[in-house]
């Protein structure tokens, strides 16, 4: 039988947990306990048979795979709505992992500044987990995370865990309704957009790698803050979202000018895309 790059492998949902009102965390096992073998920042093509296929970034870090991987998915389109209706034991189709992932070799030995917005924490969590599991390989770890409302902050338990870690600097913000924040253990939440967190930190720009992901409207403002801090464009990484129908550079949907988000990305340095007008 000829093998086709478009044929998904069936994989089992072993756990489904609500994260917010619109996001769920799906833990998935491939047959025979095989590892997905992904790198932080990569994505899979996820199929719900009969509904379709969509690209979803992997939210679990390779260091915490335990024979399974996780996807944090917002209920927003046909495939993701169908996925949200599924239960542990149900099967989904998986192709991948695809894409380049984050440049781990360039990151080791550096200060890492994470600046995700909203659902943008989902792809960055694969990297945050990896960095924390190799904590000695990195210098400072700073996480600035913002969402629209307290209820939209992802992974509340993990945010609280990061706050209690002495070797992680965290600042959180919500655009509004900060008074509804019920964090404890010393957690505080700022009110305002994510850019309001940047004055709270000082960085050594030469030694800092910044990583951001969020809604399209967020990027320009975050980039301004990062550049204002003197971080070179070669040390700022973004994970971009696009429509994809193949994941392997053929279907054309994810093209960003001459770049293919599925193959050249989804992780790009700002230096790489600052002359690429369709990028943001």
């Amino acid at each position: 039988m000829t093998t086709s790059i478009y044929i998904p492998e069936m994989a089992r949902l072993v756990d489904v947990e609500p994260v917010t009102e619109t996001e769920k965390l799906f833990t998935i096992e491939l047959p025979d306990g095989r590892s997905l073998g992904h790198a932080p920042g990569q994505f899979v093509m996820l199929s719900v048979l009969g509904v379709g296929e969509a690209p979803i970034s992997i939210t679990s870090s390779p260091s915490r795979s335990n024979g399974s991987f996780q996807l944090c998915v917002r209920r927003v389109g046909d495939v993701t709505n169908a996925l949200h209706a599924m239960q542990p034991g149900d099967q989904v189709g998986i192709r991948g992992p695809f894409g380049n992932g984050f440049p781990m070799d360039k990151m080791r030995g550096r200060d890492i500044l994470f600046a995700p917005g909203g659902l943008g924490l989902a792809p960055l969590r694969s990297l945050i987990g990896q960095v924390l599991d190799e904590r000695d390989s990195f210098e400072r770890v700073i996480i600035l995370y913002g969402a629209k409302r307290p209820g939209e902050l992802l992974f509340r338990d993990e945010l609280e865990g990061w706050v209690t870690q002495d070797d992680v600097e965290c600042h959180f913000t919500v655009d509004c309704d900060a008074e509804q924040w019920d964090g404890d253990q010393g957690m505080t939440c700022n009110e305002g957009v994510i850019t309001t967190l940047f004055p709270l930190i000082t960085v050594d720009p030469r030694n800092t790698i910044a990583v951001t992901c969020g809604p399209p409207i967020m990027y320009r403002f975050v980039l301004m803050e990062l550049l204002d801090k003197g971080i070179p464009d070669t040390q700022i990484y973004l994970s971009l979202e696009r429509r994809m129908k193949c994941g392997v550079g053929k279907c054309g949907h994810c093209q960003i000018n001459n770049l293919y988000c599925c193959q050249d990305g989804p992780v790009f340095s700002y230096a790489q895309i600052k002359g690429v007008e369709e990028a943001l």
Partner: protein, 348 residues
């Protein structure tokens, strides 16, 4: 490469013989135009055609095909489907031949596409030299596709009462010896072929005002050219230009299920970067929302992006997109307009 001679009557017999073992796809009349289709009778084959509505890519990358079948219930599973069978693509012009050479690269490099490649493996290509320009829309001479010295198994040139047949591959040789009656070309035949080719060349005109090799660099400097807004105003976003393009290969993938919702098919269908939803995501963002940006993307792919990725220009000068556009958008006129302002801007 061997040069053989086949009488025209013998060519009809060759086609007839091929039909027993192959699906023979060639140009046929379709109303006042021509279209590639399966030949049921050698008399249907119109080797005197000028151009076809759709390019022969539809044989190698069908407008819609099954990629897989699946079962949803019980133990769900997906089984690949490769839709391919022995095919002779008969009588394609050299512009389309160059386009297939590009598609071969697209579908074989990096992640090989088994669906395309299996169809391609089972397809024998018999191409045909154009001796007259098809109409005022084509610009093959400017794109360097007026002839071809590779990409075919057999290549025909009409010499009047006979065809000169250039045998390029073992598959072509086998096809000719097994199904046809041919003789080796004599010196006089070779001279006649040279004569026909030299008479042909001046009949075709250059329609680009500059060397096509300048396209990638020229377009690289034209990202903010006013032409894009002008085209965006006129474009109806119908997608005809990409449908008829021999090098456009973008596709959509979707599922269809039976009424019982127990099983279904995963299908692949031609898609178009000119359509509104092509670059939109479920969250609502459309990353190429304006028609001006979509036309720019098409021009950039044809003259720059595809060249940068595959080392070949994405336009073969067949003229189909110009011929089919209800808004009279012409890629040749567009390229020339950009070139004119670029030259003017440099004060030359």
């Amino acid at each position: 490469m061997d040069l053989m001679i086949v009488d025209k009557e013998a060519m009809r017999a060759l086609v007839s013989a091929l039909m027993a073992d192959y699906r023979v796809v060639g140009p046929q009349a379709k109303g006042p135009q021509f279209a590639f289709g399966p030949i049921a009778d050698p008399g249907e084959l119109r080797l005197d055609y000028n151009t076809t509505i759709l390019p022969p890519k539809k044989v190698l990358q069908p407008p819609q095909e099954r990629l897989a079948t699946f079962v949803r219930g019980g133990e769900p599973h997906v089984d690949p489907v490769i839709e391919a069978g022995p095919t002779v693509l008969f009588g394609i012009h050299t512009c389309d031949l160059h386009a297939i050479r590009l598609l071969d690269k697209v579908f074989s490099e990096e992640y090989p596409d088994a669906h395309y490649l299996e169809r391609r493996r089972q397809t024998v290509i018999v191409s045909l030299e154009c001796l007259e320009p098809c109409d005022e829309y084509s610009f093959c001479k400017s794109m360097g596709t007026l002839s071809a010295d590779e990409g075919y198994d057999l290549h025909l040139t009409d010499l009047g009462s006979t065809y000169a047949v250039t045998v390029a591959t073992e598959a072509g040789k086998q096809l000719l010896s097994r199904y046809g009656t041919a003789r080796e070309a004599a010196d006089a035949d070779a001279r006649r072929l040279d004569e026909v080719l030299s008479v042909k060349e001046p009949k075709f005109t250059y329609r680009l005002d500059f060397d096509a090799a300048e396209l990638p660099a020229m377009l690289g400097a034209a990202y903010d050219h006013p032409l894009w807004d002008e085209l965006g105003e006129r474009c109806l976003a119908c997608g005809s230009c990409t449908n008829v393009c021999p090098t456009c290969y973008c596709f959509n993938v979707f599922d269809e299920v039976n009424m019982a919702l127990t099983e279904g098919e995963r299908l692949r269908r031609w898609d178009s970067c000119q359509l509104d939803e092509f670059a939109s995501v479920a969250g609502g963002e459309n990353f190429r929302e304006a028609r001006s940006g979509r036309q720019r993307h098409r021009f950039m792919r044809k003259g720059k992006y595809i060249y940068e990725k595959f080392g070949e220009l994405g336009c073969v000068g067949c003229g189909r997109c110009v011929r089919t556009c209800v808004a009279s958008i012409s890629i040749v006129d567009g390229f020339n307009a950009i070139h004119e302002t670029a030259v003017g801007g440099n004060g030359q």
